[in-house]
Symmetry: C2
Subunit: 318 residues, 2 copies
């Protein structure tokens, strides 16, 4: 069995052109572009909790980085560098090769350098820390939303959750639906370019990882505002829309995690600019409601009457 050091060298040591010093020292060294702040986020993915233990390692490599890139997108930050810590039950060369290929394929597409990490034996666990840059004072924080702002969502909602239900045998999807929903689940596309384009336009942003209602709720509580959301304007994934009369559809739409689309707020005066920025990126964006002074999140039926929904996101300790 190759040693830890051989493994790391073999699979996770590629040049880091955006760093001063990459993998192989006590720490990596980087220079921040003048006028920028450093944005840092970290996510830990555990087998049996965030993914199935026999998950495709290539897709896992993609997802471990994608969920972190998505955090940068939600700040309007440009991801630059990442560290990766891996606990593995065994030093499985084929697994490591595929995982690193999935990780690097996404990293290279976003010009992100892997600059450090750790590898150890243990129950399968992936921990990525992402580092990015954002122009000073412009980051899209959760606490910047203001009464009167409109609420927007990128892409679609619920596809990943429906894909997971399919995987778990809780829902039967057509072949085309399954392919598409599993794509959302396994290979989410971080909305980095849009997040950056929203600097100066959006007042707050979050990525939909715990479920739309829960994540919007985080913005509301941090910003001290309430929201009215029009249920029928929510951009349900087509397979989700087809199931909206069913609980599975509504659950996926409102509380399904893992979509990694953005939910953001912007004053109405910036609506055209937001639409134009999204259009130039070929990314659909939808206005789904607005912020109000009265605390709480109200979901409105097409006739304007309140809908009852138990607000709940995914809780890793539930």
């Amino acid at each position: 069995m190759p040693s830890e050091f051989d493994l790391i060298r073999q699979f996770f040591t590629r040049p880091a052109p955006g760093a001063l010093l990459g993998v192989g020292d006590d720490a990596a060294l980087m220079a921040l572009a003048p006028g920028n702040e450093l944005a840092v986020s970290t996510d830990m993915l555990v087998a049996g909790r965030h993914f199935l233990a026999d998950a495709d390692p290539y897709l896992l490599g993609h997802k471990a980085l994608a969920v972190n890139l998505s955090d940068m997108a939600a700040m309007g930050a440009t991801p630059r560098w990442a560290t990766l810590s891996l606990a593995l039950p065994a030093a499985d060369e084929a697994w490591l090769r595929a995982f690193s290929q999935g990780f690097y394929a996404l990293a290279e597409r976003f010009h992100v350098d892997l600059v450090g990490g750790d590898t150890t034996r243990g129950p399968l666990n992936l921990c990525v820390t992402i580092l990015g840059e954002v122009p000073a004072g412009l980051a899209l924080r959760r606490d910047g939303a203001r009464c009167g702002d409109e609420i927007w969502v990128t892409g679609s909602l619920g596809g990943a959750a429906l894909g997971l239900r399919h995987l778990l045998g809780q829902e039967v999807l057509t072949e085309a639906e399954a392919r598409d929903c599993l794509g959302h689940l396994h290979q989410p596309e971080p909305r980095v370019a849009l997040g950056r384009a929203l600097l100066g336009l959006a007042t707050a942003a979050i990525d939909v990882s715990d479920g739309f209602l829960a994540d919007l709720g985080h913005v509301l509580s941090r910003s001290g505002v309430g929201a009215e959301v029009n249920f029928d304007r929510l951009p349900a994934h087509p397979a989700v829309a087809a199931r909206l009369p069913l609980d599975a559809g509504r659950q996926s739409l409102l509380a399904g995690g893992d979509d990694y689309d953005l939910c953001f707020t912007a004053p109405p005066v910036h609506a055209d600019a937001v639409s134009a920025a999204a259009a130039s990126l070929g990314l659909p964006v939808t206005r789904v409601g607005c912020l109000v002074a009265e605390a709480g999140l109200r979901l409105l039926a097409p006739d304007g009457s309140p809908m009852v929904w138990e607000s709940c996101g995914y809780d890793h300790f539930a």
Copy 2:
């Protein structure tokens, strides 16, 4: 059982005065001091591998951060911010309280802000990423050692390894020895102040985490030099020194990990300045050998003859 969010808020949300935005958003935001580079390192600690599953959570909180602070020390960087990701088998309030107390006690002593993290259910796993600052161009890299430099070690070697042997029932220590060795094992003291004082004096540095021979070996291979080390000059921990005729003593001294003292190199012209810097911090430093052109690490007996030793450090996949 409290939810994930309650847990995080309760134990890991203290003010982060050194950050622009701390825990609670998609990412933390920080400003780097002008003229500084960013230093980043990460370590993952797994139950049953790096610590016993029933380890004291307070000490674990200390150690999870200490090993990362030590990486900053080995770069000459000043640690500023950290993220902490935790996988826990259960949301154990007493465990979390003690762990967070151990973590914060050390963090506050070093003025390090916890700015982000993740908490999830899973086999016990701790992943800390540390972020620090170092004046541009001055970091103590592993590749800066030069032929003719002297090799130095701070503190003492082998105490942590002997403490672990004691814990595992492989060695019988006196009560005083055990207390001291277990202190080295559980509560290593990161040599941050000395690392910083060595900027401009040392040419390379590393912290002794895998074992003295292995870690010095990393410096040698990165710097393209060889070394001659005088066995009898190595600053063995007193309990280790008492066992040096035995294999347990030599093993602990040469290949025992987890000491987190620094091994560094400096040209002879800086020897007095190095000694003075260490003395002003009350930290013993010892010259143990010098760098030579011929590749490899040669261990010399008191009479100058070569000693045979199988160079091996701790390998997490061994």
